[in-house]
């Protein structure tokens, strides 16, 4: 019978290192991935991911995390895109047209985000399931009252059907965020899938010279449909031409655009003072002229002793 080899110190060290690695892997912090689905005007679809990690009891963004995003199944054919998070821990990927057929075949879809394994984090998978849906926005004018109506439609086996009880917001797109059209914060769709809000924003500054503003209806992080939105441009605003002092005479203008009052005041002061200086220089000339015409006095009228002391000094 062959004698068994005794375990060598190298093997022991390897085993120890393996155990240590396992132990160390166990200590790796968990990467938290937040996956969100967006559908804009029923056509543009994209995903947003945000990676966070818990450090010192606070969630901190993870920069540079690489994630693969898939549709329905984590396979190369279903790859939506590969993204890398920015300094805010965020990344975005548009659902490519190549997945159009796969998208059309089902009413529900699953988005899968797989984070790549790194020294700091293990591989992790996050999933998000949504039902295909869209929002349609329209406007009404009832007896001079402007209304914005929105309808939520979900896709089922029979086609697009109205969805009841969906909470949504109706507002106007502004630079810093959306402005609600009426007094309600949110609206809930009725049995026809619709909800309407009265437009109470009078004299709202328009975004262009055609008095246009952008109306929007949207769901926010809806568990079933994700983030659906629909935007529509309507001429309900009021264009105000902003007044600008650019290229006018001002204290902050270029040298050729100095205000008249400053030119006048500064010019008068300078002219006044320099006129005095020029006058005094002429007085020196005058003294010179007088001096040249006179015979020099032979003796100083000053006391000689004092004069000598001071001259020596």
């Amino acid at each position: 019978m062959k004698k068994l080899h005794k375990p060598k110190p190298v093997c022991l060290a390897l085993a120890l290192a393996f155990c240590t690695m396992l132990f160390a892997q166990g200590e790796k912090p968990e990467l938290s991935v937040n996956l969100r689905y967006f559908n804009q005007n029923g056509s543009l679809q994209y995903l947003k991911v945000k990676t966070m990690v818990k450090e010192d009891n606070k969630l901190q963004p993870v920069t540079g995390a690489v994630l693969n995003l898939y549709l329905d199944e984590a396979s190369a054919d279903n790859l939506i895109g590969k993204v890398k998070t920015d300094e805010k821990g965020e990344a975005k990927s548009i659902v490519p047209p190549s997945l159009k057929d796969k998208w059309a075949t089902a009413t529900n879809h699953k988005f899968i985000a797989v984070s790549e394994k790194t020294k700091k984090f293990d591989e992790s998978t996050t999933e998000l399931t949504i039902t295909k849906a869209k929002i349609v926005l329209d406007t009404l004018n009832e007896d001079g009252t402007r209304k914005v109506t929105a309808q939520v439609l979900a896709f089922d086996s029979s086609g697009w059907a109205a969805e009841k009880g969906v909470e949504l917001k109706i507002g106007v797109r502004r630079l810093g965020g959306d402005l609600k059209v009426g007094e309600e914060e949110t609206y809930t769709t009725d049995s026809t899938g619709g909800a309407s809000g009265e437009f109470k924003l009078i004299n709202l500054p328009a975004i262009d010279g055609k008095n246009n503003i952008v109306l929007v209806a949207k769901t926010e992080d809806n568990e079933q449909y994700g983030n659906l939105s629909f935007e529509k441009t309507v001429p309900w605003g009021q264009f105000k031409k902003s007044e600008t002092n650019f290229d006018k005479r001002s204290l902050w203008g270029t040298r050729n655009k100095a205000p008249y009052w400053l030119l006048l005041i500064a010019g008068s002061i300078m002219a006044g003072v320099w006129a005095v200086i020029v006058y005094l220089i002429f007085q020196i000339r005058k003294i010179k002229k007088i001096g040249k015409g006179k015979q020099p006095q032979t003796a100083s009228p000053l006391p000689q002793k004092k004069e000598q002391t001071l001259t020596n000094a």
Partner: protein, 411 residues
């Protein structure tokens, strides 16, 4: 000779340092994105401040019909002219590309306080020069009468400058009128020069500079340092040229009173400038004030307050302190304290902007001038002293004609 050699040595080292700055750029300085105005601008403010003494001693006291100050007028005017010359020079030194100085005239904006400063400094220089020249005319005649004891070049210079002075009634009348006009003109121009200099700071929204009081604060400080400088010069010239008969203890006594009054006035403005913001302690001002009161600049700040104001007041408020030697010491204190005060006005504020830069390097938060900056600054101070020395050697430091006339009137 030793004195001139020392001053020349400082000037030469300063010139070499400036040569390095010209060839290597402002990189040889320790100025940066935070402290873009360092020791050069502190020095500029100091020179402008000290130059105001010409208007105080000559113009204000003359118009107030004060005659005891007559022997001191030339000292004051010489200090004013040399200081304003070096104020102009140090501004050019502060420019990274002095060859582009002409752009200021080609593209300068009248809306900018920097442009106002250029205009008013030039104007003040010419007025000070005229105020130095007119009272000198009768003295030049006296100097020409003693040409046998003078070097030829000096006689030639006196001849060019004043051979036409005959002392006729008409000449005296024109000269007196011109001096009176100059005395009236120089006061508003002097106020303008230092007010505009203070506006270079006050029109910039920064902790420590954002004050409506800056013009008056600067002018009061300028009169103090100018008076301090005159006291120092009085003592030195009195001793060196044996002028005890003309610069008497009475002059020290009276100048002492003026210095005390100006020091108290400047102290009052300092209390206003620091106590009021410190009482409110707005967050943006907090860091700047803390740095001054208890932080990095505290030793310098308290030195400037104590040595530049409080100690001179303590010395000069007593009659025994208004004797020549204590006055000289107090004068030195005022001048040295004033120089550091200007440094404190410029630098700590620049280190604490309202909008700090994002991820600024740690070096931006501290400033200590490089040896080139020190050499240039000291060279400019030595240069100003050299000009004063030159004037004092070439022209009578006491207005001979005026002093004797005043004495005769008094007798």
């Amino acid at each position: 000779m030793i004195w001139v050699s020392i001053l020349l040595a400082f000037c030469l080292v300063g010139a070499f340092a400036y040569y390095r700055q010209l060839t290597r750029g402002l990189a040889v300085t320790n100025m940066g994105d935070y402290v873009s105005w360092g020791i050069y601008i502190s020095n500029f403010v100091f020179f402008v401040a000290i130059s105001l003494v010409g208007s105080l001693i000559t113009a204000v006291l003359r118009l107030a019909n004060v005659h005891w100050s007559t022997p001191l007028t030339r000292i004051a005017e010489i200090i004013a002219v040399s200081a304003i010359v070096f104020a102009s020079i140090i501004i050019v030194v502060d420019m990274g590309r002095p060859d582009r100085f002409y752009n200021l005239f080609l593209y300068g904006r009248i809306q900018s306080p920097i442009m106002w400063d250029v205009i008013v400094i030039t104007t003040y220089f010419f007025i000070s020069l005229l105020l130095l020249y007119f009272p000198l005319l009768p003295d030049l005649k006296i100097l020409l009468a003693n040409k046998a004891t003078q070097p030829k070049w000096l006689t030639k210079m006196y001849t060019v400058l004043g051979t036409f002075w005959r002392g006729t009634a008409q000449q005296i009348r024109i000269s007196d009128k011109a001096i009176n006009i100059l005395c009236i003109t120089i006061i508003p121009v002097a106020f303008c020069i230092h007010t505009v200099t203070s506006w270079l700071f006050a029109t910039t929204y920064r902790p420590g500079w954002d004050s409506t009081n800056f013009g008056a604060y600067f002018i009061s400080g300028a009169f103090l340092v100018g008076a301090g400088a005159v006291v120092v010069a009085m003592y030195v010239f009195r001793r060196y040229y044996k002028l005890e008969k003309y610069i008497t203890e009475m002059h020290f006594e009276k100048m002492g009173r003026i210095v005390v009054m100006l020091a108290l006035l400047y102290l009052y403005f300092n209390v206003n400038e620091y106590l009021v913001p410190a009482f409110k302690m707005k967050r943006t001002e907090d860091e700047h004030l803390t740095t001054l009161f208890t932080g990095e600049y505290a030793p310098l700040f308290w030195f400037a307050i104590l040595v530049g104001m409080i100690l001179p007041i303590c010395i000069l408020v007593f009659k025994a302190g208004r004797k020549p030697l204590p006055m000289f010491i107090a004068g030195i204190m005022v001048v040295v304290g004033a120089w550091f005060k200007r440094y404190l006005i410029v630098t700590p504020t620049l280190l604490h902007p309202f909008l700090p830069m994002h991820d600024a390097p740690a070096t931006y938060h501290h400033y200590f001038p490089s040896w080139e900056e020190w050499a240039i600054a000291l060279g400019s101070l030595a240069g100003a002293l050299l000009v004063i020395t030159f004037f004092a050697r070439v022209f009578p430091i006491i207005p001979i004609q005026e002093t004797i006339t005043e004495d005769e009137k008094a007798a």
